[in-house]
Amino acid sequence: MDYNKLKRRASYPFETIGVAVAFSPRLEAILGEAKVLSESFGAQLLLMHIGERTRSKEAKLDEAFRKLGIDEKKTKVIWHEGNPVTTLLELCKLNIVDLLVVGAMQKENMLRYYLGSVARKISRKAKCSVLLLSQPKREGTRFKKIVVNGVENPKTIHTINTSVYFGKHLNSKQITVATETEQPVLAMSMTSESTAGEASKMRKEFTEEELNKVHDIVINVSEREGIEIAEKIIKGKPGFAIRQYAETKKSDLLVINSPDLKYGIIDRIFTHDMEYILEDLPCNVLMVHSRIS
């Protein structure tokens, strides 16, 4: 397999959409979502099941195809045994999947979260964009309100562009690029050394600086016609603040960058950044892998 094909491949358009098929009670809902997505993006659908191929599973899949009106000829189904996470990710690389759709619980129980569920593990390791659907619907979710994390990072512009592409194809009304601002140690270093005016001026300057940064990113977004892009500064810890914001605003989709670090169990114990989102999904989450180093 020539993995070089994956390197520097743009994060959109979505030409191949992969779906992790788990034969859970939400099978039809996940497949329904996948169908809507593949039709909207004109992408090929690739269903992957990691586990034993049995007659009953085949029958269930056929039944779901029939109910949902999925064209079997246009859909590729792969059956493979092995470790669910590594096998699935390997298949995604092999088939140059642009978007992997995975069903995920909104919140895992504590032990399962620390040990790592399949959906969460995929999110941390995938080399393609991942859509975690916490509340999949048979008829497909309407992604009306999209929140994008506008963190200062070279990947962010690709993530916003991908969000705009995603939003346009799914008739979204509004995209909000929200940037979190955290000011560690500021309280301690300013309380005794600054007057109230100085402290408030400094905080204001920090906020304005952040707003300018997000504005500079948004101004470079391509093909933004027909979609409204709002900018927002939210205060709080990265990851947690945007999770809360997406939840409060009842967003349909939260879009974030793929992780820069290799997240492990220590990052789950001392939760930070992306782990706050994975710990308790505020809505559906799209993790954009922009494939830049």
């Binding site: 560690p184 309280a187 301690m188 005794s192």
Partner: protein, 416 residues
């Protein structure tokens, strides 16, 4: 019969506290105009009110206002207040240690943090262990070990608030460079204070000795409990406290209450109370649910009331002129710069920084500030060090803090 403060004792106590607070504020504000840290003004007031100046030129006034050796009631009350002050200071220091920032900065913060601790530690430890005479210390092997461990630790810590302020003044606070310095300083603080608590419990100042193994086990168990389980409980309780109880009284009382509870626990198991306060600070300060306003209020309360009392009290008990020893001052200054600069530069370069920026990080981390003074004072109280060494540590804390900013500016090369 339970003894209480007499009317006269209470008057003296209140006069002493008010004098310390008012003069510390006036002198610190004047010092601020000259861009000097507030703590320098507070320490200066202590020196003026203490045996160094007032005790020399007007001993009656000094002994009336601060009867630390002649009136046991007032001395005990002041000692209680000063102990409470240091516990509170460690609590707010802990509140600023955010593990998420250290983890986010990843490899660079860890290698810089480790380098800036290991080399200064072994430099300090080695010099103290092999050449204790340099510090005028005569002691048996156990005390030599404890003193060497202390000097190593004293040279490896950094002063997070001072560093943050310097970075803000240089407009580097929000840069990647700034975050690496902050994350490394947090790492230094965390490891440094945990280790210092261990050294204090080793120093034999308490009557009930614990074996080293038990002490380490208790520190790990307590830290693990507070940071894994305690933090989760705090995360759940804080939203309720901040919305259902009176604001800001509820969160203030609960936070300080938890701090004192943890401090009492660690003191009761013969690890110093500061460890409990520091860990409680981390558990509360690292909580995503703690409102910024609540954090500010706690800081305001501690840094404007307890911090001046603590720093002024240092000058009340130590004669800075009689205990000034140029040789010790120079040794500690050289050790403070050499170890930190070599260690932090090496660590930062290992973490991927270029040489000039690595040097700038090292000079940033060399600022010791108030943290060094607190550490030194606790060591002095525990008879780990002599007064000349303490004076040298205070001078080193100031020199490193004042030179840190200009040295960062000299070397740093970052896009703002």
């Amino acid at each position: 019969m339970i003894e209480k403060l007499s009317n006269n004792d209470l008057v003296i106590l209140l006069l002493a506290i008010s004098t310390m607070l008012i003069l510390a504020r006036i002198v610190s504000e004047l010092g601020k105009k000259l861009k000097l840290p507030m703590v320098m003004g507070e320490l200066l007031v202590g020196i003026c009110l203490g045996p160094t100046l007032l005790g020399k030129i007007y001993p009656q006034a000094y002994e009336y206002l601060f009867p630390l050796k002649t009136n046991s009631h007032v001395a005990l009350a002041l000692d209680g207040i000063f102990s409470l002050s240091v516990i509170m200071l460690l609590f707010v220091a802990g509140m600023e240690v955010q593990l998420s920032i250290v983890l986010r900065q990843g490899k660079t913060a860890i290698t810089t943090g480790l380098g800036s601790m290991i080399i200064p530690f072994f430099t300090g430890f080695g010099i103290a262990w092999y050449f204790p005479d340099l510090f005028g210390m005569e002691m048996d092997e156990h005390h030599r070990l404890v003193f060497s461990l202390f000097l190593g630790t004293a040279l490896s810590i950094s002063a997070l608030p001072v560093i943050a302020r310097i970075l803000m003044d240089l407009n580097l606070f929000k840069t990647n460079f700034g975050m690496i310095v902050i994350a490394s300083a947090m790492f230094n603080d965390l490891v440094g204070w945990l280790f210092f608590s261990f050294i204090l419990s080793m120093s034999g100042q308490t009557s009930n000795h614990l074996s080293v193994g038990y002490t380490i086990m208790y520190i790990i168990l307590f830290g693990a409990f507070m940071l894994f389980i305690g933090r989760r409980i705090i995360d759940r309780a804080l939203p309720w406290i901040q919305t259902k109880l009176s604001w800001p009284g509820g969160v203030l009382a609960m936070s300080l209450g938890l701090c004192l509870l943890c401090a009492a626990f660690t003191q009761s198991i013969n690890i110093h109370a500061i460890l409990g306060a520091f860990i409680a600070g981390i558990a509360i300060g690292d909580s995503v649910q703690l409102r910024e306003q609540a954090r500010d209020i706690i800081h305001q309360f501690v840094t404007n009331f307890f911090a001046p009392l603590f720093f002024v009290s240092i000058g009340l008990e130590v004669n800075f002129i009689d205990n000034f020893d140029l040789k010790i001052v120079l040794i500690i200054l050289v050790l403070a710069y050499v170890g930190k600069v070599i260690g932090a530069t090496g660590g930062a370069m290992l973490g991927g920084l270029k040489k000039r920026n690595a040097l700038a990080v090292a000079f940033g981390l060399s600022a010791r500030g108030a943290m060094e003074i607190i550490l030194g004072r606790l060591a002095l109280d525990a008879n780990l060090i002599t007064q000349p060494i303490f004076v040298a540590l205070v001078i080193m804390a100031f020199v490193t803090s004042l030179t840190s900013g200009p040295l960062i500016r000299r070397f740093v090369e970052v896009e703002k």
